[in-house]
Structure formats: structure tokens, C-alpha cells
Amino acid sequence: MIAVAASLELEAEVVAALATVIDPELDQPITDLGFVRSIRIDDAGVTVHLRLPTSFCAPNFAYLMASDAVDALRRVPGVGAVSVLLDDHHDSDKINAGLAANAGYVGTFGDEADQDLDELRRTFQRKAHTAAMERCVMALLRSTGKTIEELPGLTLWHLPGGPQKDALLRRRTDIGLGIRPEDLVLVDDDGVPVPPEAASLRLRFAKAVRISVEGNAHFCRGLLKTRYDDEPPTTRITNTRRSR
């Protein structure tokens, strides 16, 4: 019984680890998006198959999610050997070989890679922050009936607690912005305060960013459903581990 409990605990930890992997473009966990096709846990380790809405999803993002999944799984204590495979993608062979060999991004893509994917990741963390900021500010404006011009010096302290604020704080942390109560909400990607005369334009553009990210997420979910005829998307879990 102890062995079974430990094994189930490991399974939960594996799922939780995969839930920390975010699709950078859509700003949602790959587990929610249905991108985890299967998890197989046995005495040797864990094998995870990932899938995406199309064969032609951008290979740099595909690699990023797959390598993030490897990193997250390796942090699970006692997991054993970690194997992540990307299915049905135009670069599946290349990415899977790179992951198996621990080749890194440059090693995986060779001549096509210049440096690394840090800037790509950062670009989308900035977008995610912009969208989260807009959600919080617009919710506040709706509840107070005020305009952004009427709220100069809006700080994190002014935002009501809840999932939207938690999401904003996480995204601020991702891009290195402060999360103290006195920190200003309306800032640019580098944390520089937006002057009052530019506030409404910043907010207006932030809305376009949010619409874009949300719209892409809806579309990708729809395509995944069409591609795999799988609604709601389910992860096939096989666990033959006898103990931890």
C-alpha cells in the first residue's frame, strides 16, 4: 500500500510539474491546453508525449515547451529517467533527437539557430504582462466607474485581490518588475511609469495585446480538437511504477 501511495504521489507530482510549463504565445499551461498527449510512468522513469494543434506550429515555440517539460520533470524527486517526445510535428524528428541528446536549442537546430531563445521567451512574457495588466486595470475601471485619467498613481495596493491580481504579480515577477504594494501598475515593459498623457493609449494597446493572445488561444484549442477529434482533450496516463 505504501508503494502504491508513493507511486500515485509521484504521478501527481509529474502532472503538477507539467502544469508549470506554459505555452509562451498563449500564456496558458500545456496541461490546460491539451498538449500533453500521454504520460507513462514505469520503474525506469517517465515518458511524456506532447502534441500541438498543427504540424506547422512554430518550431521554436515547440522546442521551448518540450525542453521546458524536460526541465520541469527532472526536478521531480525520484522520477528516474525523463523522456519527452513531440508527436506529429514537421520538426518532430529533429526536436526529439535534440531532447534525447540534451543538445540544447543551438545543438538541436544547428545552422538555423543563432544564439538562444531567451529573447523569444522574454518577448512573450512582456505580452503576457501587458495583457494581465489590462485585465486588472479594466476590471478596476469597470467597478469604480472611473477613467484611467482619474486614477493617476495607480499602485498594486489599489487592485483588489484575486486570481487576476495574482496573475499580474506572477507576470511582473517573470519580467523582473517589482510586486510591492506601492509599485505602479501602469508601466511599460521595462517598468518605466507611463506618463498620464500616455496612459489611455498604453491601455488601448494593451487591450489589443490581450485580444490577440486570447484569440490565438481559442483558435489553437479549436484546432487541437479538430485535429485529434478529442473533446475535452484528455491525457492518457499509464502508471506501472511499483514504488518510488
Binding site: E25, P53, T54, S55, F56, C57, A58, P59, N60, H90, F109, D111, E112, A113, D114, Q115, D116, L117, E119, L120, T123, F124, K127, R204, F205, A208, V209, I211, S212, E214, G215, N216, H218, F219, G222, L223, K225, T226, R227
Partner: protein
């Protein structure tokens, strides 16, 4: 022409294709993956009653195209925007000679745009001159994610691309349709980024840059650059079918576009045969911003007429019958007409 409630609409479908993706034309697995991806787009976003079977979708031919567009689809004029994809298909994906022959048979109904690829350098430039002469090009369709041997993409502001754009200026090819895709070289950055379009739109102000799919999946970046560059346009390919499956999202897209770039720079297209124009035209004419999406003004009949055809007609000097034109000055100030 489409008529509803006494209003008549000139329809220009600004993005159509005549493709052959049948198994015998596929060069490799990527040819199959590419058409399967298209077919999933088609199935996911079309109303169930207009979904094609897979075999028809891989190849539909000239007669089907003429019927879907001009007999059933209300289209007055359509513009070929081919993707060549020589690395995926033996005879190419877009069927150049067939589309050109069809255009010559119906010059009043069809315009043929061709493609160039700056990675062909000097030889490609010479080919462009020949193509412009033989095909009478007014526009080109560029796919920056096209694979070519070891290279899987290019940027518009690269040195050779600029030489091609300068050649277009000389040849009188003024409409540059740009379609971004998932690959580019190097792969480090976002392949859908539109910064290179911003750059060339600034440098070549006599050219019009029509960004297909209104920059999707980077709608916000497209809106931002289009606001600043008056010669940047948005093509509604891929955005249109959301009108059926996700009308509230479609309202957001149209609302954002009207806010950022205005009613004169948005072009309708079905992206045929990804989707067919009949239902898109019908639904767009009936479409209105939902009442609770109060952040957007209602869309007017004049705006719909511009988007459905008059804007593209202006770019391509198409002869719009008098009764289908808007009186001079009509547009922004017109009262919203609820449909």
C-alpha cells in the same frame, strides 16, 4: 455582386488559390502535413453544411473555382495569391500556369499575382522581370516562411529582398501581399513578427503592403505598425471565418482594425479554398457588433461596402459599376445601420 435589403455590394475576394495537394504531387511528408493543416482550418471554422470532403479539398480544379466564386459566391473579382512551396510539392502547391490561363480567359473577373523569393538572388530578379512581362503583374504574394533547401524563411528587410522590392517599383508592381509563417532564419526570434514590414513600408512608400491574415497571430503588432504606416493594409484571410465560429472574437478583430487602421485599409477575402466566399459574404453583410460589446461602434453599411470590395478595387484599379460605388465622401460620418 451581393444584394440585401436594397443595398448592393461589390465583392472583391482579395486572396484566392488554385492548388493541387493530391498525394501524387506531394514531394514529401511536409506536403501532406501542410494540406492536412489547411483542412483542419477548413473543418474547424466552416459551418458544417459547407465542409468539403478531403479529396475534393486536395484538388478542386478550375470549374469548381469558377462556380464557388462567381456563380455561388457573389464575387465580382478575385485575386490569386499563390503559395509556391516547391520544397513540399513536385509541381508546386499553387498551380501557376492553370491560374494564369484562367485569368487570361476571364480578365474581367480574375487577377493573377505571382511570387518571388529573394534567396534566388540575381537569377530570381531576372525571372521576376520575365514574369512581370508575361503575367502582367500588378501585385505579388510573398510567403516569408517558405522553405528553400536548408533555409526555412527570410525577412523582407534583407538586402536581396530590398533589391526585389526596388525591382517591383520599376516594374509597376505596387501591391506587395505579405504572408508570415512559422519559420524564419534564424529561428531565435518570433517568425510572425511584423517589424520587417514596418521597415520596408517606411522605406518604400510608393508600394502598398497588404499584410495577410491581418497579422494573425500578431494582430496587435500589425495594428501598431499599420497605424503608423499609411501604405500598410490588412487582408482578412483567415480572420473572416471566425464570423461564424467565434462571432464575438470576430467583432473584436474588426473593432480593433477599425479603431487602429480605419475602414479604408481592410480587404475582404475568403482565402479560397480554405473557405468559400458565399457564406462569408452573407454573414458579413448581416453582421453587427454585439450590443454588449459597447467598446466598439456599430459597423456601418458603407464600411462593409469598402471592406467587401471597394478598398481592393482602389488598389487594383478595378472597374466598379457606378451603382455599386459609394457617393464621394461617404464613410466615417455615416449613421450606423443596424442589420
Amino acid at each position: 455582386m451581393y444584394e440585401k435589403n436594397g443595398e448592393k455590394y461589390y465583392i472583391c475576394d482579395a486572396h484566392i488559390a488554385l492548388w493541387d495537394a493530391r498525394a501524387e504531387n506531394q514531394r514529401n511528408i511536409h506536403g501532406k502535413q501542410f494540406i492536412d493543416c489547411f483542412y483542419d482550418y477548413h473543418k474547424n471554422l466552416s459551418p458544417a453544411e459547407v465542409v468539403w470532403d478531403y479529396d475534393t479539398y486536395t484538388y478542386y480544379g478550375e470549374q469548381r473555382l469558377l462556380k464557388d466564386l462567381f456563380e455561388d459566391g457573389y464575387v465580382d473579382h478575385a485575386i490569386f495569391q499563390p503559395a509556391i512551396l516547391s520544397d513540399f510539392y513536385k509541381r508546386g502547391f499553387g498551380q501557376t500556369e492553370d491560374a494564369l490561363a484562367l485569368t487570361r480567359a476571364h480578365p474581367d473577373k480574375l487577377t493573377y499575382n505571382h511570387a518571388w523569393d529573394p534567396r534566388h538572388e540575381e537569377a530570381g530578379l531576372e525571372q521576376l522581370r520575365k514574369d512581370a512581362d508575361r503575367m502582367g503583374l500588378k501585385g505579388v504574394k510573398l510567403y516569408t516562411a517558405e522553405w528553400n533547401g536548408d533555409s526555412r524563411g527570410w525577412k523582407l528587410d534583407s538586402l536581396w529582398s530590398r533589391r526585389y522590392l526596388e525591382e517591383c517599383l520599376k516594374l509597376g508592381i505596387k501591391n506587395i501581399h505579405v504572408h508570415k509563417g512559422p519559420t524564419i532564419r534564424p529561428l531565435d526570434r518570433d517568425a510572425f513578427d511584423v517589424a520587417d514590414i514596418d521597415q520596408v513600408a517606411t522605406d518604400y512608400t510608393e508600394l502598398n503592403f497588404i499584410v495577410e491574415h491581418v497579422g494573425l497571430p500578431r494582430l496587435e503588432d500589425f495594428c501598431w505598425i499599420a497605424t503608423q504606416e499609411p501604405n500598410v493594409y490588412g487582408g482578412l484571410a483567415v480572420a473572416m471565418p471566425f464570423i461564424h465560429s467565434r462571432p464575438r472574437y470576430f467583432a473584436q478583430i474588426i473593432g480593433e482594425l477599425l479603431y487602429w487602421i480605419g475602414e479604408d485599409r481592410i480587404l475582404f477575402s475568403s482565402d479560397y479554398a480554405l473557405w468559400t466566399p458565399k457564406w462569408l459574404v452573407e454573414q458579413f453583410v448581416d453582421f453587427q457588433i454585439p450590443a454588449d460589446q459597447t467598446e466598439y461602434a456599430p459597423i456601418t453599411t458603407a464600411q462593409k461596402k469598402k471592406i467587401l470590395g471597394l478598398n481592393a478595387a482602389a488598389l487594383y484599379d478595378l472597374d466598379v459599376p457606378e451603382e455599386l460605388r459609394l457617393p464621394a465622401g461617404v464613410g466615417a460620418t455615416e449613421e450606423a445601420v443596424a442589420s
